[in-house]
């Protein structure tokens, strides 16, 4: 079981951020911590974790990974920056474009908008878990066959979203495919190839 414990790039509060926080006057006394404070458990109750790094266990593509991250680290950042699973892409980073799509218990979600701590206890599937260059999944093969990419940056998210869509809609029509994939964007505009790929896999009953 690999253990990952990288130093947090933005540890603690900057002086400026600290002054701003105090100046805002809305932060309850006792919640403001000094930079780099080691306390992980607050006085208010045993269930409170952070803001310093906390140990997490994530089940990703069938493997359990242990890592230490602050509660503010998103699943996408945990995958890319702590676990070297860089297939999920960071594009909009605001739950709009779909390039970061992963499956949580088989359902597509935006990993940029899900805190890593909240992904504990769920089965996470990333693009790395769907196939390999040697052994492409049916959806990956269909993408190749139908030229369903240009720059390729949106492709991992699309393949993950399409895989989940076909599983739920094995006999999808073109209209259903278009509506069902509205959560992913391709700025190159390869939608035609993508819908063709999805329709092919849907017909194949994969």
């Amino acid at each position: 079981m690999p253990t990952h414990d990288k130093p947090e790039e933005h540890s603690g509060l900057s002086r400026r951020g600290f002054l701003k926080t105090v100046g805002a006057g809305t932060v309850a006394g006792g919640l403001v911590r000094e930079s780099g404070g080691a306390a992980t458990v607050a006085a208010q109750g045993p269930e409170v974790a952070g803001p310093a790094a906390i140990p997490l266990k994530l089940s990703i593509n069938g493997n359990t990974h242990s890592l230490n991250v602050e509660p503010r680290v998103t699943l996408l950042d945990a995958l890319r920056n702590y676990l070297d699973l860089t297939g999920s892409k960071k594009v909009c980073d605001r739950g709009t474009c779909g390039a970061c799509t992963v499956l949580l218990d088989g359902k597509p979600v935006y990993s940029c908008t899900l805190l890593a701590v909240e992904a504990q206890g769920h089965k996470i599937t990333t693009i790395e878990g769907l196939g390999s260059p040697e052994e492409l999944s049916a959806m990956q093969s269909a993408f190749v066959e139908h030229d369903a990419q240009q720059c390729g940056f949106c492709t991992p998210g699309f393949v993950v979203a399409c895989t989940a869509f076909v599983k739920d809609h094995p006999n999808a029509t073109l209209e259903e495919v278009r509506a069902g994939l509205g959560g992913n964007l391709c700025r190159c505009g390869t939608y035609h190839g993508i819908t063709e790929a999805v329709l092919q896999v849907a017909k194949g009953g994969a």
């Binding site: 932060v27 952070g50 998103t74 359902k107 908008t113």
Partner: protein, 324 residues
């Protein structure tokens, strides 16, 4: 994103206790809005209290004379519930039109009701009222997507909730619980608030309170939602309309018409409802309802087009309800 404390209590009592630290403690539901808002620095909670581990807040209960929907029920689960699909096609449309499987899987019923506005002035740091150097930027600015009703005060944004208009039209009740642990029922008609000052809340949920569930009368009605949008993928609509009525021998009874994305709250169009009341819902009465719905609209400099869209949305929602 600023750092914060995180807690995921197993029950509601613990969640309420963890929220008692005041305004710096925020409820985390699906996170689709809050996490993004935190990244953008619009809000910086000192503590997040996640409701994801609280089973009593999840699921749809159809056993009583209301359909009771837990606040942590995902939008996907809501729309795929058989009873919901049968009784409330207006809700199913509102969810499916969100246009993203990812958002619908992550987003929750309670979270949808408590979203922050999508107003781009707000999202870019100019506050709820879009102010710079004490001057409002919205009246003469980029107000294409802003309010055409209820915009006489400083608030020009539109309520972002997808479920809000349908829940108001269906006569739903939202239940919240706070430090006194007593459930408090809020009619959906009184849930959304138009702030008059930047500190005013957007909903009737007080600091320290949690939305626990939504209850909708389990009554057979004709109901439908019609949305008009720029793109079919993930986006917020330009205008929506929900029409609800009881079919009384081919005539509309207890008609209700509620517009979405036209005002800081779901906008109840009483004139449009009156235009349908006691009549067969057909092309002619639907057209009248549309015209009545936009009477008194006060569009801003660049959103006059939304008046026509609102008219059409009401007409089409009424005709869709008649078919439902």
């Amino acid at each position: 994103m600023k750092s914060f404390e995180y807690a995921a209590p197993q029950n509601l009592d613990d969640a309420i206790a963890l929220l008692a630290s005041g305004e710096a403690a925020f409820v985390l539901a699906g996170g689709t809005d809050l996490v993004t808002s935190m990244k953008q620095g619009i809000v910086s909670p000192a503590r997040l209290v996640s409701l994801k581990a609280i089973e009593e807040l999840k699921g749809v209960d159809t056993s009583g004379d209301t359909v009771k929907i837990g606040a942590m029920t995902s939008l996907a689960e809501l729309a795929s519930n058989e009873s919901v699909a049968k009784l409330y096609p207006s809700i199913v449309t509102a969810v499916n039109k969100i246009g993203s499987a990812q958002i619908v899987n992550m987003g929750t019923v309670g979270g949808d009701l408590c979203q922050y506005p999508r107003c781009w002035y707000y999202r870019n740091g100019f506050g709820l009222f879009g102010m710079e150097n004490g001057q409002p930027l919205i009246p003469d600015g980029e107000n294409k997507y802003h309010a055409i009703f209820g915009n006489d005060g400083p608030a020009k944004f539109v309520c972002a909730s997808s479920l809000g208009p349908a829940l108001v039209a269906l006569g739903a009740t939202v239940t919240v619980r706070g430090a006194d642990n007593q459930p408090r029922d809020i009619p959906a008609t009184e849930f959304f608030k138009t702030p008059q000052s930047p500190e005013d809340p957007l909903t009737a949920v007080a600091v320290g309170e949690v939305v626990t569930h939504v209850a909708i009368p389990a009554k057979a009605t004709k109901n439908a939602t019609y949305e008009i949008r720029e793109r079919e993928g993930l986006d917020w609509p330009l205008v929506t309309a929900t029409v609800v009525y009881t079919d009384n021998g081919g005539k509309a009874q207890d008609a209700r018409v509620v517009l979405g994305h036209v005002a800081p709250v779901p906008w109840i169009a009483t004139g449009a409802a009156a235009a349908l009341e006691g009549k067969a819902v057909d092309e002619s009465s639907a057209l009248e309802a549309g015209a009545a719905a936009v009477e008194g609209a006060t569009p801003l400099s660049k959103n006059g087009f939304k008046v026509q869209l609102a008219k059409v949305a009401v007409k089409r929602a009424a005709l869709a309800a008649a078919q439902a």
